[in-house]
Symmetry: C2
Subunit: 449 residues, 2 copies
């Protein structure tokens, strides 16, 4: 039996099985649901053992549990592939915005694991072998939707058992059900805060206005100065380490059927696209770094007017970073920038929050080429490339385990499923299982080391 035949004839059983799991409300951000997250981990470990994984363990993290599983290749010299996923889900509020009842399979990322285990079984069925052509390890965390707080520490602690030649990320999305695509990078994040403090108390602007520096003026100038007239970020050295898109990448991005008007309408924007000059919208949100003011405040913000020169102004800013920017460099550049923009008589205070590093998979790397071949075999058409504007723990995985990333995933951005549709969902599930079956073979012959 070939891969597709195996997948199709076993689909119903897998979907029924998964449905049972997907009804567990494993919301990591809600302490009242933490019992459900633990239940979800236990269910998953049991399911993986049943599917044939010789090792399937629930790992304590100090927070919510992760699941680790391993199915060794027959050949001990075969490459080791680590698949990353998560078994927790997002909070379901606001209920009124849900288009189908929560905790039914349609809207759940969790189905990717169905694809994964079905894919391994299909690969075995098709090859007639008792073990996959690569050693497959799974690490499935339970805190992705609440910030992966304990994940990096877990990776460091279990570096030995997680050791691998390539990391497969399976929770990203494809462009559309009929436009298969692979993610090749995710922006990082550096959140900072800055406060400018002047007078020891709020001053009356009748007495002092025009004669002393106003922290709100200085903050407005500092924030306005973050971008130049081309909408480029003005921090010193900000673009020095930015990896430019190659012409091939630009061409491939441009071939995605992107409806900019529709995208703007989803953002509630009535105007035209906006951003750094010289780049398309997709390039701007995926492949270019940004500085975004997330909040600012100071002075009188209640009803009516109060003619004060306030004592302090505050702002929260986050930088989206792309490969090969280093959050520590950007934090240092931000300190320099603020010092240069703080006028005499005001004092600046800076807070740097924990950063997320950007990650990047070159489209000509052996792992990405192997993943693309697997996807193309499953979908029967050319696979394009995307990126993502934000990220989770992917960069930590790559850095701590010192292995390249490849994103092989067939989920759709829930914003793009305008009419949830069981048949689209089932088709993608089957294609995903098929792609992962091919992936083990493609990775087995790729030159990963």
């Amino acid at each position: 039996m070939d891969v597709r035949g195996y997948v199709e004839s076993n689909a119903r059983e897998f979907i029924d099985d998964l449905t049972q799991w997907l009804t567990i409300p494993s919301i990591s951000a809600d302490p009242a649901r933490h019992g459900d997250v633990r239940h979800s981990a236990a269910w998953l470990a049991g399911h993986l053992r049943g599917a044939g994984f010789g090792v399937a363990e629930v790992w304590d993290t100090g927070g919510l549990p992760a699941v680790f599983a391993e199915w060794p290749a027959a050949d001990p010299a075969a490459p080791v592939v680590l698949v990353y996923g998560h078994h927790d889900v997002q909070p379901v509020e606001p209920f009124e915005e849900w288009r189908s009842p929560p905790f039914e399979p349609v809207e759940r990322d969790g189905r990717l694991l169905g694809r994964g285990s079905l894919g391994v079984r299909a690969a075995l069925a098709a090859s007639g072998a008792a073990a996959p052509p690569v050693t497959i390890k799974l690490i499935v965390e339970g805190e992705e939707e609440s910030g992966s707080e304990h994940f990096a520490a877990l990776l460091r602690r279990e570096r030995e058992r997680l050791a691998c030649d390539v990391i497969v990320i399976s929770d990203t999305t494809m462009w559309a059900a009929d436009v298969p695509s692979m993610c090749t990078g995710m922006r990082g994040l550096l959140p900072v805060e800055v406060a400018l403090t002047g007078p020891v108390r709020d001053l009356h602007s009748g007495s002092f206005g025009g004669g002393v520096p106003n922290p709100l003026h200085a903050m407005a100038a500092l924030l306005a100065g973050l971008h130049d007239e081309r909408n480029r970020v003005t921090l010193p050295r900000f673009y020095d380490r930015v990896l430019p898109l190659s012409d091939e990448e630009k061409d491939l991005l441009a071939r995605l059927p992107f409806d900019e008007k529709h995208w703007l309408a989803e953002a509630g924007e009535s105007g035209a696209a906006h951003g750094e000059q010289g780049y398309s919208t997709l390039e701007r949100i995926w492949a270019r770094p940004t500085a975004e003011i997330n909040g600012m405040w100071g002075g009188h913000t209640g009803p009516g007017n109060k003619t004060i020169i306030p004592r302090a102004a505050h702002a929260k800013i986050s930088f989206r970073l792309v490969a090969d920017q280093d959050p520590a460099d950007v934090a240092a550049a931000f300190r320099e920038y603020v010092a240069a923009w703080t006028p005499d008589g005001l004092t600046a205070e800076i807070l740097v929050h924990p950063a997320v590093r950007p990650c990047h998979s070159p489209i000509d790397s052996p792992a990405v080429l192997a993943g693309r071949r697997a996807m193309q075999r499953a979908f029967g058409r050319e696979v394009l490339f995307t990126k993502e504007g934000g990220s989770g723990p992917e960069a930590d995985l790559a850095e701590i385990l010192d292995a390249p990333l490849v994103f092989v995933a067939v989920g759709l951005d829930s914003d793009q499923i305008h009419a949830p549709n069981e048949s689209v969902d089932t088709t993608l599930l089957l294609r995903g299982a098929e792609a992962s079956a091919y992936l083990w073979h493609e990775l087995a012959v790729a030159d990963l080391r």
Copy 2:
């Protein structure tokens, strides 16, 4: 007996009398004290009748009462002088900042009325006449410290009875006990608010950051753009109607013994003076218009970070205006400015609060020259000129009653009384009474019409 002799021999009696009045906590801003404000008005009317005013009435305003009094000149053709003051006081909180117990005479503006009535009596005693050389009218409001809400309507309603040739403002301050001075102008105020609104909801900056306009960026740019590199306000036509200081005014201001370091320290400023280029600090805070951001807010302002592009940004701004700027012109210019700074895709909303007009008394006007002669006679030395950075209802008085303003006052800015001192206070009370006695004579012979 001459004026000074009369004042000195009657001082104790007046001070004792006033002390009784000044202990009434007539706090107009505190509804629980409104009974005291009414009590204060009744006491004052009684006192003025006792001092010889033929008319002394408590006027209902719809809010807290004002007191009107009149003492006609013998000559019906003599000029009519309207003296403005207020009988309400500021809230006494925070108590811990008071240097002497509240509602003792030292810290009270109310003493100016003691000076006024003692001054009339002294003028009569010195001249041997039964009536003053000018018709003296007093209007003493009870809501000055809470915004003079009903005062303009009262002026319009009682325009006939308040008709006058000159308005004497007696609640401003002198530079110092040993530096007699007269105020010659007060800045006006135009408070506005602006909101910039973009997306229909907060957006995730991972998905949209760098691709849609952020209202906080636009607001920062709008606010930063309010001043140019010389710290001049960039609103269209903003300076077109600004009356420049004459060389004589600049010279007189420069002769005030102004300790800039001390002033900055009072403002809690550690740096250097700041403001519009080409002007001294006193010129900046008294004679130059400003734009001051009083508050701004938008996006995430709580703890931690939230990587949003917020849906809206807000700011409260107030313009300090000088003669002959018109608040309506400035409001129109602000609307133009905001329209020009609102990027495609964002919507601006503007709120214009009620304005206070600037007021101005030319130093070479007959009324100011008469006031200056009276002050110089009382103090025995040259009287300098000051201005005030903020204002109350003075511009309304001048405009509604169509008469020039002259500021004759001997109070000290409470910030400048570093060691409250009964003897300084008593000396000023006596000099003020003396100055007002001379003032009636000076105004009687001035060419006011």
